[in-house]
Symmetry: C2
Amino acid sequence: MTRAEHREGLQLQSTITKGGQLEISLATVETPSPGEGDVVIRVEAAPINPSDLGLLFGPADMQAAISGGSADRPVVTAPVPAGLMKMVTARLDQPMPVGNEGAGIVVEAGASDAAQALIGKTVAVIGGAMYSQYRVAPAGMCLPLPDGTTPAEGASCFVNPLTALGMVETMKLEGHTALVHTAAASNLGQMLNKICLADDIALVNIVRREEQEEILRSIGAKIVCNSSATDFKDRLTDALAETGATLAFDATGGGTLGGQILSCMEAALTRTTTEYSGYGSTTHKQLYVYGRLDRSPTQLNGDFGMAWGIGGWLLPHFLQKIGLEGAGRLRARVAAEIKTTFASHYTAEISLAEALELKTVAAYGKQATGEKFLINPSKTG
Amino acid sequence: MTRAEHREGLQLQSTITKGGQLEISLATVETPSPGEGDVVIRVEAAPINPSDLGLLFGPADMQAAISGGSADRPVVTAPVPAGLMKMVTARLDQPMPVGNEGAGIVVEAGASDAAQALIGKTVAVIGGAMYSQYRVAPAGMCLPLPDGTTPAEGASCFVNPLTALGMVETMKLEGHTALVHTAAASNLGQMLNKICLADDIALVNIVRREEQEEILRSIGAKIVCNSSATDFKDRLTDALAETGATLAFDATGGGTLGGQILSCMEAALTRTTTEYSGYGSTTHKQLYVYGRLDRSPTQLNGDFGMAWGIGGWLLPHFLQKIGLEGAGRLRARVAAEIKTTFASHYTAEISLAEALELKTVAAYGKQATGEKFLINPSKTG
């Protein structure tokens, strides 16, 4: 490939204007010349993860989104409610490139040995701006994929696999022995089930719909509780008593579900208690909120004693906590099992222009039901 | 004092009947003979702390309390809402003695040297059942008070002093450098102010009313925010930016206050940020709920990024965490400063019978406004 061919490329950008409008569009941007230690990657696969949606949509009201522009340069616009504009002061009128992770082919490299060694290789990268035809990145940030792995197979090497492994590591680090997971039929939730089955860890899956129960049972999940069922709390308490799970990861964040989980944990712990304690069980119950699929306020009834904690859980903070060595160990497992445990399945592989079709955009928020899209910025049409 | 004189004594007891009724009454109970290492304490002072109310009232509706019985054997009754009966299954129809801490005179002792050495001494004890005329306790549980200290002065040696010191210790252990405290005009809150002034720790006090602001300013509090003021959030954010406080202790538990504190901490941390981050500040913000003055559900808007935690904080759990040596260090400071930093002030010193007068009972819940009662079980009439 000659330099001329990738001198510039398309990039998906999200802008929130001072006027209170979200605009998602495609721009032609110049590909910077790689520095000595850099490579230029032709991106061929980048997933749309739930963690991309914060930057992609901001706090815009996507129910009111409309499409415009042309067929090859579509533009999606949506209003940002006035009360939420203060959340995005720091990004106003700045076109933000999007896409946390992806994979592609190294088409150019700086002079260093490390960069030169990657020429022609298929590599995965996490670092933002992956919904771009070309992405310049330091060679050290690239994870070379095993021979025979396609960019599509390696596109989701980081966010979901490391999050799922991070949940299991957190469980061990904090002295718990079983897990609860909400929105459990998601791509991430399916991976977590595969890990827990392989590692013999009890996992209580919580879903909202029957078809999600079926997705999970079809991949071997043993315990699935449906939060829409009338006997949900009893079933969940049974599952918690059976597994002894005192740690939950919640993707929903808002509403009453997180508090219900803590309350059912407490009920499971005190089922066999005969002595009265006004402070409840002394066993610590922990809920980590790692997503916010439900944007309504979180409500806690407080009927779970005094030994409890709730906190935000974010992959980069967790990786920092376990250090380079710990993160390296997790990455090695992902690379080794990328076609099995950590295989991702996509609803469709789409071009950058197709990524801005209104019906597709509307589906990005439905990942709890298993919908997941893969953008191939090199795909035309 | 002869054995005959303290063969039996009055004891305050709280019972919740299977029929859904709370009954608080006085019973004559036999004083057990002390074992070899035990002493018999004639209790002369035991405070009513907020932490006593859970056992005293249970989940009864105290707005609907009525009084009965006779002048020297009053009975307070109140209905327990049907939906809350499951919280108290383990205590149904059992008369529970109440009173976490108190002080009195040792009037009898077992044969051991340690027990005999306490005869005639004024001692403080934590361990429950202190709203009793006589309390048998192991000698090792007794804290002998410095000469010249009355039981009234030593009655509140443990719960509030150790909780206030525990907050400061928690701050240091978890790497914070300043504190926020709600319901800050309480007896506990006043102690915390004295400690923070002495130790040069910045403390942001949150109160609900102007007269509470005045109480705190009169003892030297530097920063007081009134949550009823229209500019509360701005003032709190200013105070958090000024002090750098990222740890709060909340006595209210329910409602929106806890979430507001986290949200203002985040606003203070990101005030000077110029780069946009969808995940908010990376500085961890922590809220500990140590009381539940507000029994409505806790509501969190979630506008405080991903680096946050909320948890229950309970003195016994904390003391266990810091171990015997740590607890000993805190107790030594309390004993040394019992007439200054840790001096408690009481609304009134009352007898066991007076403790069950309806207007007094109604005031037990108002400790955030500084009301605090001291029961003297040895007082007659």
